[in-house]
């Protein structure tokens, strides 16, 4: 007897295997560039530019050392006159006939990215949540037109307004500042945040806030104590989108930042070694650059997966 005792909504073994196969193929395809970048980070400079590309190679931390340091080439005699190297990375640099001149700017750029990325994400979600709540709950004249107007800021590529923003920022002194970049990314993200969060807020029954207001809380108190915790899913989703955008944004960062507030994306590709791009350092920089947004997404993912809270309101 063949066991046919499965629920009709449950997929059969074959279709499940097929689905798994498709997902695995898709994952492999999307992961190839990322894998390649990570591997490149562990190649030596010479191995990174070998043609045909090496799939198997001797791993080296040269890329990471180059990423964090600036180096100068020295003559053989100069190197021999130096006391023996104290650290493994000094030894590695000297084996390339160079000495470490100092730290690179990578750390500072990375920190800028973190400040601007998280700053803009927090601000977008916070302001977006307030606006979404207002749109969701209050009678606002021209509500639909306002919502459309907010969305219309996304109907052209942001870079289309790059020149006016560049001039404006220079005039008011926001160019090359953290605050300036946070404001800019918040503005770009806000429309998405308002729209996404409004959808989630609409799903939260009003009874919760009404109950809280009767229980002795102001509307603001009810918003923070009751509405926000219920909107966790929406907030997590919105935060991930905002974070990915502000973390990866390249065009405005190139245009508006240079020294003080330059983020990692415009910095990493400019890492120049001798005789051109230092691909292993770029690979190393990109690998490190992936980590925060990956952690951020993984941490928030559990809120996404939990789905919309099964409320205790009977409908």
């Amino acid at each position: 007897m063949v066991d046919t005792s499965r629920s009709p909504t449950e997929s059969s073994g074959f279709s499940r295997k097929l689905a798994a196969l498709i997902i695995i193929i898709y994952a492999v395809v999307t992961l190839i560039p990322i894998t390649w970048i990570i591997l490149t980070g562990f190649k030596s400079v010479t191995s990174s530019i070998t043609y045909p590309p090496e799939v198997f190679f001797e791993p080296s931390l040269e890329g990471y050392v180059n990423l964090f340091t600036t180096r100068t080439r020295q003559s053989q005699e100069y190197l021999e006159a130096l006391p023996p190297p104290e650290t493994w990375y000094e030894e590695l640099v000297r084996s390339r006939e160079m000495v470490i001149a100092g730290p690179s700017k990578f750390f500072g750029r990375y920190a800028n990215s973190l400040i601007i990325g998280f700053g803009a994400t927090f601000l977008s979600v916070f302001l977006g949540a307030l606006a979404a709540y207002a749109f969701s709950r209050f009678k606002i004249p021209l509500k639909d037109d306002l919502m459309f107007f907010i969305l219309s800021t996304r109907m052209f590529p942001p870079i289309a307004v790059a020149v006016p923003i560049f001039i404006m920022y220079r005039k008011i002194g926001l160019g090359d500042t953290h605050l300036g970049m946070i404001i800019l990314y918040t503005v770009v993200n806000l429309s998405l945040a308002v729209w996404l969060l409004k959808g989630f807020m609409d799903e939260i029954p009003r009874e919760y806030e009404e109950a809280a207001m009767i229980d002795g809380y102001t509307r603001m108190g009810a918003f923070f104590k009751i509405v926000l915790p219920q909107a966790t899913t929406g907030i997590a989703a919105t935060a991930i989108f905002c974070m990915i955008f502000s973390w990866n944004e390249y065009a405005f960062a190139v245009l508006l930042t240079q020294f003080n507030a330059q983020t990692a994306p415009p910095f990493i590709p400019t890492i120049i070694g001798e005789g051109g791009q230092d691909w292993s350092a770029i690979g190393a920089g990109t690998t490190l650059f992936l980590i925060p947004v990956m952690i951020f997404t993984v941490v928030l993912r559990k809120h996404l997966l939990r789905g919309i809270t099964f409320g205790a309101v009977r409908k």
């Binding site: 809280a212 207001m213 102001t218 409320g311 205790a312």
Partner: protein, 335 residues
């Protein structure tokens, strides 16, 4: 606790009239039941008293104080919603403690603990205090919802069909419990329902709402025995009152009455009866039997306590208790 007064309250939602010139006074310590079908304006009345909704016109008084412009939080009412709205991200304990922790009250931890445990015991949810609000059955949720209202001493308890989602047995239990709690606390309760049994068993006074207008206010006995219209008469009693068109029956008219009403228990089966009818269906309820009957052009129901067996289709003679007969004009108003 306070007395509540609504004066000439009007409320429209777009083109729909929710309340039309509503005047109600609820005395301190009274269990007042608002009775009416869906859409009669019961919930709107509660929302206006609690401050969740502003009236278009009219005044709201708590004791002698006008409350129109006071925020819900400062009106100090407690509200049991028809859709029990427990905060799903909190435990049962936190749900019950929530009003006590509000910035208005900020009770001490020990006080909160004591009150929450007390009310949980009273409502038999003390074993569930640590549960998430979402891990409860419907009945438990509604008890937590009641508990959240009862945990403090507000000016008035507003309850919007709090028992409607419970099963019959639990509903009966909580009905008795609620009445007891109200007496113990001497609480002012405004209770909204469409269930006439809840109304008659718990209310000190009943207000019958029809399309946003208060039709009649009185004790359950007054409303039952002396309804001022067919509408009110229909609201109480099961089986419903019989309303006969006087043109189609031999019942003697009075003044300009077009309809006469008589409750099923005031009709008796007797050989001395002067109306001949046929039995249509027989419904045995235990101590009583409901018989629906039919004559040439009217249908009706009667309630009898005799233990005789009745055969469907059989011809019987019935008598109406003329003293209990209610007469109505062609607008359905009592004469």
């Amino acid at each position: 606790m306070a007395s509540i007064k609504l004066e000439n309250v009007y409320k429209n939602f777009g083109k729909t009239t929710a309340l039309k010139n509503l005047n109600i006074e609820i005395f301190n310590g009274e269990f007042f039941v608002l009775l009416g079908p869906t859409g009669a304006g019961k919930t709107t009345t509660l929302r206006i008293i609690s401050g969740l909704e502003q009236p278009d016109r009219g005044k709201i008084f708590f004791d002698k104080e006008i409350m129109n412009d006071v925020q819900p939080a400062f009106r100090d009412t407690s509200y049991v919603f028809q859709q029990f709205s427990l905060y799903p991200h909190y435990s049962v304990y936190d749900n019950l403690a929530f009003p006590l922790r509000s910035p208005l009250r900020k009770e001490k931890k020990e006080v909160i603990d004591k009150k929450v445990t007390e009310i949980a015991k009273l409502l038999k949810i003390d074993s569930k205090l640590k549960n998430k609000a979402t891990q409860l059955s419907g009945g438990e949720m509604q008890r937590v919802s009641l508990g959240r209202a009862l945990v403090r001493n507000p000016n008035i308890y507003l309850m919007d069909e709090p028992l409607s989602s419970l099963d019959a047995k639990l509903r009966e239990e909580l009905r008795i419990e609620l009445k007891k709690i109200q007496k113990d606390l001497n609480a002012t309760i405004l209770y909204v329902t469409h269930d006439h049994v809840e109304a008659t068993t718990m209310a000190d006074r009943i207000g019958v709402l029809k399309d946003g207008v208060l039709s009649q206010v009185g004790t359950p006995e007054e409303i039952y025995d002396n309804p001022n219209s067919i509408y009110v008469a229909n609201r109480l009693g099961s089986p419903k009152i019989n309303i006969f068109d006087l043109d189609k029956t031999k019942i003697p008219s009075k003044n300009k009455a077009t309809h006469a009403g008589i409750r099923p228990e005031d009709i008796s089966i007797t050989n001395k009866g002067n109306y001949d009818v046929y039995i249509e269906t027989v419904e045995l309820l235990g101590a009583e039997t409901v018989i629906s009957f039919k004559s040439d052009n009217v249908n009706g129901m009667l309630l009898t306590q005799t233990s005789d067996t009745f055969e469907e289709g059989k011809k019987i003679k019935i008598a109406l208790n003329n003293k209990k007969m209610l007469y109505f004009d062609n607008n359905g108003m009592r004469i």
